[in-house]
């Protein structure tokens, strides 16, 4: 080890340093090469984080109040405080394969959607950097169709003094992606546990307990005509079962998504068909 040169030079140095020996020069050169190697290694590892970002354009649903994707990725400090406050554990942190997203939160709505059982959007309140925010800073633009026409009313606190979620933008929008499989369209009812007995997802049911979300499996349904997506939607006026005309001219029922949809994903989670008929388009915007 080179750094153990005790006892060498008992006098303070005077005059210019003597020229280096050949061996010393060589060892210095090798050291320089190693240093360059480590530089390349660490930087390569750091930049490899970009690869998945380039190759995969898979959009992930972010927690409510998230800034637009690139701003979100730049401002998130990856602390997971949003994960900690969520009463239904909807928020997960991304892993290495998600590239720049190591430690960045996302929601897999089919597994566990945000049902706003916290009432106040706790994840936004917990965020220390403003990655999740009620009020976007002025210099950040709002994508057309992302802004909500009005602050969404949370049905659970409709009778409260402040019935709205203080959100100004949606995180996505629900789309009926497999209408052919939709029970409502087929005029079918639904009886039993939606998503099966093993499904781990939780939700708050106002008629059970306002402050304690329970397992969805513990809350079986029995409806003559399936309307789970519309019935469980936490936002006022975001989705309803309407009578529509089929392409052949006959009348039938169908879930219809409306402008107040914030993209929370509850409809996606409760849809009893496998795979689900209704899904959230992450960062999707409202199109009239």
């Amino acid at each position: 080890m080179s750094d153990n040169d005790n006892g060498s030079g008992s006098k303070p140095a005077a005059g210019p340093t003597p020229p280096l020996s050949k061996a010393k020069r060589q060892s210095n050169r090798r050291r320089f090469l190693r240093t360059a190697l480590l530089t390349g290694g660490v930087l390569g590892a750091a930049l490899s984080g970009f690869l998945p970002l380039i190759y995969s354009q898979k959009k992930r649903l972010r927690p409510p109040g998230a800034l637009d994707e690139s701003d979100f990725l730049s401002s998130c400090i990856k602390c997971g405080q949003c994960v900690q406050v969520c009463p239904v554990s909807a928020i997960k942190l991304a892993d290495l394969i998600d590239g720049m997203g190591v430690g960045v939160p996302y929601i897999d709505a089919r597994q566990q959607a945000c049902d706003f059982s916290c009432d106040a959007v706790q994840c936004i309140l917990a965020c220390p950097t403003g990655s999740l925010t009620y009020h976007k800073p002025d210099f950040l633009s709002v994508r057309p169709g992302a802004a909500l026409a009005a602050k969404p009313i949370l049905l659970a606190k409709e009778k409260d003094e402040e019935p709205t979620l203080n959100l100004t933008e949606r995180i996505g929008v629900a789309r009926l992606t497999r209408p052919e499989a939709c029970l409502a369209i087929q005029g079918k009812g639904f009886k039993g546990q939606t998503r099966g007995a093993d499904f781990k997802g939780h939700m708050r049911y106002m008629d059970v307990d306002r402050w304690k979300p329970i397992r969805i499996a513990d809350h079986p349904y029995d409806v003559a005509e399936c309307d789970l997506c519309a019935h469980e939607c936490p936002i006022k006026g975001a989705i309803s079962i309407e009578t529509v005309f089929a392409p052949d001219g006959s009348k039938r029922k169908s879930p219809v998504v409306h402008e107040p949809c914030v993209g929370c994903g509850v409809c996606e989670m409760v849809c009893p068909v496998e795979p689900g008929c209704i899904t959230i388009e992450a960062r999707g915007v409202w199109k009239t």
Binding site: M1, G7, S10, V102
Partner: protein, 327 residues
């Protein structure tokens, strides 16, 4: 502070940024006398005293134990706050809340500020609190008393040193200026790309999150680093790469908590430099180098206390500047 110590203070900052320590050009009168007296001591007498001291040496791990306990406790507090929902220290090492008060890691905050170019109040509050806290506590104390990677690296270092002793590997040293270069590169990358690039590979963040939210594939990178340190280069990440260490080092420049070196009883045997993560800060213990009879150790020191534990003569000790005068 004497003129000599003032000069050394600034030289130590340069040393932190990667320059090699140089032999002092000037030494105070009192220190010169001590150096002279040591030189004049009869060799046999000196050997006898050294042997005597060695015979009565008490192997202490006091500071190491305290430090490990603190480090493990701090990290467990994060874990338990979430897992057991005791809510004392919520979040991870990058950013957290201690019973409601925002705490934000300085390097992470810097990365976010550079990448996002927008700073909200909570970010200022959290960063400010941590800045004051660590300026008082010693800057790089964060490294050795809190950072979970430091503990793993310490264990890896033990394996590395064992392998070195068995002559199976050699320590491949590198240029310490590399850390400063990395610091600048990662700052520029954050600024230019708008991504907190460093956070993707920060073993501190990865480990902290793994301890709290469960393990992930990102731990492979941490394993790779440890592997590199065991077989190639002793403590390479902390010594040559980690920008977090440099950030906290800068914060600790004016810190009152530090290690103090007393020239008088020192035998210049260099045990302290052998155990030290940053032996360049201990250049002053080399025979004839101390410019004063008491020299404070520079800001790159992590205040881990290994040198204090290992010193057989008690020449190195913790000091809180100003406190000794008060008491």
């Amino acid at each position: 502070m004497s003129q000599l110590l003032k000069r050394r203070f600034f030289e130590q900052i340069k040393v932190m940024f990667g320059w090699e320590p140089v032999k002092p050009k000037e030494i105070s009168e009192r220190a010169t006398t001590v150096h002279e007296l040591k030189r004049m001591t009869n060799k046999q007498d000196l050997q006898a005293v050294k042997a005597h001291m060695r015979a009565h040496e008490i192997k202490s791990t006091k500071w190491r134990n305290r430090r490990w306990a603190t480090l493990i406790l701090a990290n467990l507090l994060f874990t338990f706050s979430f897992v057991l929902d005791i809510q004392i220290l919520e979040g991870a090492l990058t950013a957290s809340r201690f019973v409601g008060f925002h705490l934000i890691d300085l390097n992470s905050a810097l990365q976010v500020m550079l990448a996002h170019k927008h700073i909200i109040n909570n970010l200022i509050i959290g960063t400010g609190t941590v800045l004051v806290l660590w300026a008082l506590l010693g800057g790089r104390t964060f490294c050795s008393w809190v950072c979970p990677y430091h503990l793993l690296a310490e264990w890896a270092e033990k394996i590395h040193l064992y392998l070195v002793k068995k002559k199976l590997v050699t320590d491949q040293t590198m240029d310490r200026r590399l850390r400063t270069v990395f610091w600048v590169i990662f700052a520029l990358l954050a600024l230019a790309t708008g991504y907190t690039v460093f956070e993707a590979i920060s073993p501190t963040g990865i480990l902290s999150r793994a301890l709290i939210y469960g393990p992930g594939l990102a731990l492979l990178w941490v394993l790779a680093l440890l592997f590199f340190e065991v077989f190639f280069s002793r403590r390479a990440w902390c010594r040559y790469a980690c920008p977090i260490g440099l950030t906290y080092g800068v914060v600790g420049i004016i810190s009152p908590v530090r290690i103090k070196y007393k020239l008088e009883g020192c035998f210049h045997e260099g045990d302290c430099r052998k155990v030290c993560l940053v032996p360049h800060v201990l250049d002053t213990v080399i025979k004839g180098r101390a410019i004063e009879t008491e020299v404070p150790i520079g800001p790159d020191c992590t205040r881990c206390g290994l040198c204090v534990d290992t010193c057989p003569t008690g020449s190195l000790s913790f000091e809180v500047k100003g406190l000794s005068k008060l008491m």
